[in-house]
Structures are given as C-alpha cells and as structure tokens.
C-alpha cells in the first residue's frame, strides 16, 4: 500500500475501485498510525476497531461484488466525543460521563455510517465542548501535531489534531463559539461550521442549543464538501433542523469566483491582532482579489460586544442543559444521604472547573433580579449582531476575517485567566451568534512555522459559495497540507 499517496475521499475511492487497497487494509493502516502517534498527541479517547472492521468488511464485500460504492466508502473518520455513538463510550471529555455508552447514534454519525465511512473512534475535547484550547478535558490536553508544546485549539482539539496528524482522513467536530474553526486554524486544516440548522443536532450532547453546530475537519475543501453533503439536510428528530435543500457542494466548488464581492470588516483588524497573523490574512485577501474577487470594506459595529453576548447566552443555555447530570438516570452517581445531597456531590465531583464556572455564570445570568440585566439584554444585542451580518450581506457575497487573533498558544499559557481564554474567540463568536456558516481555511504560516487561518463567512445556507471560494483559494495558494 502506498504511503506516499495522501488519502482523501477521492483517492480512497479510486484505490478501492482499482483494488489497490481494501477498506480493511486502510483501517489497519490508520489504527497503526494511531498506535504510533496517539500516546503523544492524546487526540483519541476511545477506539472502535470492532465496528470499524465490520464496516470495512461491508465495503470490501461491495467492491468484491462490483456493487456501486456509497459516497464515503472506506473513508476513516473520527468523531468528537460529544456526539452519541451506539455502543462506543461517549464521555464529552467529562468524568460525569466516564462510563456512559449511548444506546443510539447521533444523526450525523448515522449518516456517515450509511455513506460507508469507517468510524475509527472518539476524539478528545474540552469538557462538554467548553474551552478554546482542549486543556479543559478531564482526560488530559491534546497536543498540536504542528508544534507539540502548543495547544491544538478547542474545543474540538482532538478532531483537528487527528486529521492534521494523518490519524483520520476526516473528523466531525462541533462549534458553539468557534470550536471547529479555531482548532482548524491552530492545526492548519480546513474546518467548517455549517449554518445553524443545516446539520441535525440529534444525538449531539447539548452545550448551548441555540448555537451548537456539527461540521467537518478535512485536509482538502473537496473532502469537506463530501462530508458536509453527507451529514447535511432536514432530520425529523431535530425540530431546529432546516427544511432547505442541500446543493451539490462537490459541483459548486469547481466554479470560478471572479466577480464575487468579499466584505472585509475593519472591526476585525484592530488592536489585539498579532502582526504576523494580520500580514498572512492580508496576503490571503490579496490572493482572493487576484482571483477576481472584489474587496468591499465593511463596518460591523457590534463586533466588540460579541464576546459578552456569547458568554451570557452560551452559559445560560449550558446551565439549563447541564441540569440533567444529576446521577439519577445515567453517568456518574456519588452516593448521598438525601436526594439533594446526591445531586450536589455528583455534580461537584463529576464536573471540572470550567464547566462549573460556566454553570455558575449562566445560573447567575438567569437568576431572579439579574435576568433582564444580563440574559435579556444579551439576547437583544444578539439581534443587533445578527443585523450587522444581514446588512453586510446586502453589500457582499462573503465576509473574510482572521479566524484567531494569534497563532496557537502554548499549553498552560492562558489557563490561569478564563477571561483571557474567552477573548481568543473574538472573531468566531460573531458568526456563531448570527447563525451564518463559517470556515477556517489554511492561510500560510508565521515565521515560527505556526499555521494561520483565514475565516470566510457565508450568508445563511450559503455554504456552497463559501466552499467555492475556499476551494479556489486552496488551489491558487497551495496551502492545503497532506498527512
């Protein structure tokens, strides 16, 4: 089997069809890579070889019979540990779910399996997806494969690291305030947050229900298109999933982007932006202009308020969603003399410091006497941020910004000050609040060799155009990495 061929959805399909490799051999290869690299990276929390080999056998049987192969046949994929997987432990990076094995699959996982994907295992993440560095996992931090002393970003750090290190061809992550795009930028790979409602949240263990989204990490935009096509679309099991047709992303990304209007909000290039990141992102924008895009200067006046709005709304929703962890029906139970005693001991021992901090903040923001001042006000400012995006998309087709204000920071650098950690989400939370799709595309490196991400926002349900620009950018810039 060729180790020189970078595995993508397309190369795997060709190799399977021409019988150069079997799905079983591919799974062997990826499990061997994981065995070599995972002890150092800590990207995977659990492996699912039994299910993976069953799926590989189904794919190999289809090849042997000459049957048409499903779209992701044999593609080794990792799944963030906040997505429910039948029979595979799902911990959310938390001690409170240490022994939890869900009795059902998330819809996104179900669709990957139906498309022939081989699920390798579950990836590490910040506890309940709360974090920007993957240092909040109860199972230890993930290391960035590009620079081992750096964080891989968070909260989907394990998924990003697994794909960047070649331990999976693609991975699912989740994004509530930047948790797909930000690790994509840190690890130097494409990372897609679809429109709110584009991908069913059924089986995604909830953090903040009005913000949570599921999307792919891949090494190429074509692969991102292939995975997104598979998981997108209405699901009767999620009442917030949209009844809007999913276009053929594979077809759309081939289109020329000359004439597209790209909005560049000056509010995203102010104080706090690392000079080298600024320089790379400006070169990226220049490249899009060279490809025929028209640069439109934008003002998005409520950008400065996004972090505050986000950390009120997300924590308020989290405090409500995480009330279910009480030791009664599933997960950890710490015995107590009374029911209340059991609740309190279970939650005290089961949750880590960041989760407790957010539950406290959200409970405070929703509590009597503070609701109007915090939660209601934040919801109103959310409407203003939504309007900033609506106004911008009257003037442009896409919005281009940095994904992160800095490159990946060092492990331990920001753990002492939660507010500093929250501020790392400054460019990603706006799109989260507005419900628009966003992608982080690799956009060169700093002088120290750390990846920089270019963020592209599309309009609601405008993933096709966002991926189209990303694909043309990738082809022209050659920024895509091969594992």
């Amino acid at each position: 089997m060729s180790r020189t061929l970078p595995w993508t959805v397309a190369t795997i399909r060709m190799a399977l069809e021409s019988r150069k490799v079997s799905a079983r051999e591919l799974a062997d290869d990826f499990f061997a890579r994981i065995a070599r690299r995972n002890p150092e990276l800590n990207a995977y929390l659990a492996l699912s070889p039994e299910l993976a080999y069953q799926q590989a056998a189904r794919v190999d049987a289809a090849v042997a019979k000459g049957e048409p192969l499903p779209p992701l046949a044999g593609v080794p994929i990792a799944v963030k540990d906040v997505l429910s997987t039948t029979g595979i432990p799902t911990t959310c990076g938390s001690k409170i779910l240490e022994n939890y094995v869900p009795p059902y699959n998330a819809t996104a996982v179900e669709r990957l399996e139906a498309a022939g994907a081989v699920i390798l295992g579950k990836t590490n993440c910040d506890e309940f997806a709360m974090g920007s560095s993957n240092e909040n996992s109860a199972y230890g931090p993930v290391r960035n494969p590009v620079a081992l002393d750096r964080v891989p970003g968070g909260s989907s750090g394990g998924s990003a690291a697994a794909v960047a290190a070649g331990l999976a061809v693609a991975a699912l992550g989740t994004d509530t305030g930047g948790s797909i795009r930000q690790p994509g930028a840190c690890c130097g790979i494409p990372a897609v947050m679809p429109t709110y409602g584009r991908v069913s949240r059924y089986g995604l263990i909830a953090f903040a229900s009005s913000l949570d989204r599921i999307g792919p990490f891949t090494t190429t935009i074509a692969d991102a298109a292939a995975v997104l096509s598979t998981i997108a679309g209405h699901d009767p099991l999620d009442s917030t999933s949209a009844r809007i047709d999913v276009p053929s992303y594979a077809h759309e990304i081939e289109k020329d982007i000359a004439g597209l209007r790209i909005g560049v909000p000056e509010d995203y290039f102010g104080a706090g932006l690392d000079p080298e990141v600024r320089e790379q992102v400006q070169s990226g924008i220049a490249l899009l202009q060279k490809l025929g895009c028209k640069r439109i200067p934008l003002k998005m006046p409520h950008t400065d308020y996004a972090i505050a709005v986000y950390y009120i709304i997300a924590t308020a929703e989290a405090s409500s969603n995480l009330a279910r962890y009480d030791g009664v029906r599933f997960g950890l139970r710490v015995p107590g003399a009374t029911l209340m005693d059991m609740y309190r001991k279970t939650r005290e021992q089961g949750f880590g410091p960041e989760v407790k901090r957010r539950i406290m903040l959200g409970t405070y923001a929703l509590s009597a006497g503070y609701y109007d001042a915090y939660y209601l006000r934040a919801q109103k400012v959310r409407a203003l941020i939504f309007q900033d995006f609506a106004d911008a998309f009257l003037k442009c087709d896409l919005i281009v910004t940095p994904t992160m204000p800095t490159p990946a920071f060092r492990l331990g650098e920001k753990t002492a000050d939660p507010l500093q950690m929250y501020l790392a989400d400054i460019y990603t939370v706006t799109g989260s609040l507005a419900g628009v799709p966003g992608i982080s595309v690799p956009c060169g490196k700093t002088s120290q060799g750390l990846p920089v991400g270019l963020q592209i926002f599309g309009s609601h349900f405008g993933e096709a155009r966002m991926l189209q620009a990303s694909s043309q950018f990738e082809k022209a810039g050659g920024f895509s990495i091969a594992p």
């Binding site: 949209a242 009480d326 901090r357 400012v381």
Partner: protein, 120 residues
C-alpha cells in the same frame, strides 16, 4: 465588586453544586472579572429591540403543515416562531425502558432507585 461570597453560595445552591472553600473564593474573583467585562453591553441602547432566542426559525417550517406563510425566510412574528416546527402527532418507537435502565447507575426495573425523598 459585583459578586460577593454570598452571591457565589446562592448561585451554587441554585445550580446544585457543592463548592469547596477554595472554589468559592476562586469563582468569586473570576465571576467578578467576567461580569465586569460584560458590563460593556450597557453602553448600547437596546430599547425597542426584540430579544433573539433563536436564529432562522422560519427555515424549519414544514410547508405541508404550517399556516399561510411557506417562505423559508426569517420569522415574521412570535407566533410564527412558535408554530414553525410543529410536526404531526404520530406515534413512533423510541428506546425501551430496558435499554435505558441498562445504563442507569442504580436501576431497579422498571425504576431508577434514588435516596429517600419523602419523609413519612
């Protein structure tokens, strides 16, 4: 100072968290810093602005079962948001009690056993 020790204890009680002494002091300082930061929202005039609880509710409307409007665009009013995602009330199979009890910490089928709640 926005947050006192009593505030932390009150919130911990509401959230069913039993904090240690060290945690009480740590969270007091951290919540204070975060809440001071979010005070920047008070700079904005939000009078007359509708609070946004959910984006894109209009996109979830079932054209077969919904009212007069079928366009997949932003909701027009509160009633629209509420009714946009109603589905037909049809029975469908779900997890059985057996499956669910299998993953419970202390099952006594068909019940979840918990410490005594009601005093006789």
């Amino acid at each position: 100072m926005k947050i006192t020790r009593d505030d932390v204890l009150r919130v911990a009680q509401l959230a069913h968290l039993e904090l240690s002494e060290t945690e009480v002091e740590m969270y007091r300082g951290q919540l204070d810093a975060i809440l001071s930061y979010v005070d920047n929202l008070n700079e904005l005039d939000v009078s007359g602005i509708e609070p946004m609880a959910q984006v894109l509710a209009g996109a979830t409307r079932d054209p077969a079962s919904a009212g007069p409007s079928t366009a997949a665009d932003a909701p027009t009013d509160a009633e629209d948001r509420e009714n946009s995602a109603l589905r037909a009330d049809v029975e469908r199979p779900m997890h059985t009690a057996e499956t669910v009890l299998k993953i419970a910490p202390d099952p006594v089928p068909p019940y979840f056993r918990v410490p005594k709640v009601i005093e006789r």
